[in-house]
Chain length 140, copies 2
Amino acid sequence: MTCPLCTEDGGELLWRNDRSRIVLVHDRQYPGFCRVIWNEHVKEMTDLGVAEQDMLMRTVLAVERALRAVAVPEKINIASLGNQVPHLHWHVIPRFPDDAHFPDPVWSSPHRAGVIHSVDVAQLRSQLAELLGAAGRCSG
Amino acid sequence: MTCPLCTEDGGELLWRNDRSRIVLVHDRQYPGFCRVIWNEHVKEMTDLGVAEQDMLMRTVLAVERALRAVAVPEKINIASLGNQVPHLHWHVIPRFPDDAHFPDPVWSSPHRAGVIHSVDVAQLRSQLAELLGAAGRCSG
């Protein structure tokens, strides 16, 4: 079976370097829902070397930092699941008390229609470039 | 409101150092479900310094490695959510194709009764001690 994360970006590309990329998922209920995808087809975090794990987590946490600055959520949810697409990727989701599933995970049954919190994509890109390097370098 | 992760271990203690601890949740459907809890009351990963973030992820990924060795799951699921208990903690869950929710997250509606995959707790402790240091040092 062809892996969708090997053949496509997997969303609107916000940042990329040679190891990983950050995309906006365009989730209808969660406009700020981002994914960080390891470019190479690897299944688990512990299939990477320590330096690569650190690099990927720096990128994931740059997304957390950027989303906190731009969207000002109540909480950030981070997860690496990959049961359906076993190609290493991280979900980074800004959560709000009035969103559809709060305080439960977005994968649970919704509690309400939920307020949709839009995100300023230009500002998000700019924050990511500042944190990770405009040219796609992954700094400390 | 008192934070339950400030007042209690939060499960059966498998390993601990001065910064974080690893507990077995005793989830009925997922006997291998572990949590890694930052001892101090901090909300988000990006509230930690980079060295602390690295230390915590080393511990989380030691649990992934130990669970892969001991439980041999199809996939590991890792998540930091904390909407209900905003005290930094990571869920590390071994997943199997015949478990109740596969291929969906454990927080979704179950698909079946699900096979319960037991875990050898002594072996898990021993793996964690090997990876992280018996005296609770956090190496590598």
